[in-house]
């Protein structure tokens, strides 16, 4: 079966969804919260605009609306 060597296809089986899902749910949620703080969050309780001010340069340079 020398023609089998022509097979350019790489057909790996995939990771089952039920193995990915818990990580995607909890990890994904935490990562989205982090993204929110870096890109859009403004204030912390008691400290108005502190998040905005701290991430100021990164937020501008990553292209998110700042002020």
């Amino acid at each position: 079966m020398s023609d089998a060597t022509f097979s350019p296809g790489f057909a790996p089986t995939s990771i089952p969804v039920k193995e990915i899902l818990p990580w995607a749910l909890f990890g994904g949620l935490v990562l989205l919260i982090i993204l929110y703080f870096v890109t859009a969050g403004q204030s912390l309780p008691g400290q108005d605009m502190i998040v905005h001010e701290f991430f100021h340069d990164g937020r501008h340079l990553l292209g998110f609306p700042c002020h």
Binding site: S14, I15, W23, G28, V38, A40, I50, G58, L61, L62
Partner: protein
């Protein structure tokens, strides 16, 4: 194994953030400083007192910028790892490495490039603080529409590839995505808050720097996750079918 993979994906994202820092300083620093100087000038000319920032400029341009890039890199690294883990073996017969590159490439187009073309990055001194909520909502909506259109386009390409072949399916999906982008452009409101006297060259430098930083960050993550995915899938023995085929 999924937990370990995600952890490594986060580390890849942190590395991308570290690499993006000097690029941000070298290319992004000068236009940011120019913009702030222009802002100060305008304020002095108007007779307003300079405001004392809560976080000093020194902290903003060093620790603040670094922390922002690290956190953003880690978040994008983690999310792309999860999506790649799901996508390998489910988007046609391409290698884990190529899958990672495809996921990152399509992610970059739909999450960074398209929203950034519709609502381009602005330096300090550009943008009315009173409309920040509105602009954030419009940007977020654009990002969501664009990402949703990309997910639908990929799903459509998968379905069409059985009857029309993967190339034709991919071309059709790309046309579909671009058509949605055109509609988003028509529907979403234009925002122009660039002051008349703001130098065009500073705006251009800033926007190029912004794109450069994002492109560098996403590219490093794409390559890094590619390495992780190849390893993960060979450890699982998922590539074994190819080896068997080749030696049969």
């Amino acid at each position: 194994m999924m937990g370990k993979l995600l952890m490594r994906g986060l580390i890849v994202g942190l590395l991308a953030g570290i690499l993006a820092f000097p690029i941000a300083r070298i290319f992004g620093g000068p236009p940011v400083e120019s913009a702030i100087a222009i802002e100060e000038q305008a304020r002095t000319a108007a007779g307003e007192a300079g405001e004392e920032p809560m976080v000093s400029r020194d902290v903003q341009r060093t620790v603040g910028l670094g922390a922002g890039l690290l956190a953003y890199g880690a978040a994008i690294g983690g999310i792309l790892t999860l999506v790649t883990a799901f996508a390998v073996g489910r988007v046609g017969s391409i290698s884990p490495r190529a899958t990672a590159a495809t996921v990152a490439g399509l992610g970059f187009i739909s999450v960074v490039l398209v929203p950034g073309l519709i609502y381009p990055a602005n330096p300090p001194a550009v943008g009315n603080p009173e409309t920040i909520g509105y602009r954030t909502q419009m940007f977020g909506l654009t990002l969501l529409f664009s990402l949703a259109a990309m997910v639908l386009a990929v799903a459509a390409a998968r379905r069409l590839s059985a009857s029309f072949g993967s190339w034709n399916a991919a071309v059709a999906a790309a046309i579909g995505y671009l058509a949605v982008v055109a509609v988003i452009r028509l529907v979403m409101p234009y925002v122009n808050e660039v002051p008349d006297v703001f130098p065009a060259i500073v705006l251009w430098q800033f926007r190029v720097a912004s794109l450069l930083i994002q492109a560098a960050l996403w590219s490093v993550i794409a390559v890094g996750i590619g390495v992780l995915a190849e390893r993960e899938f060979s450890l699982r023995g998922f590539g074994a079918s190819r080896v068997k085929l080749a030696h049969r």
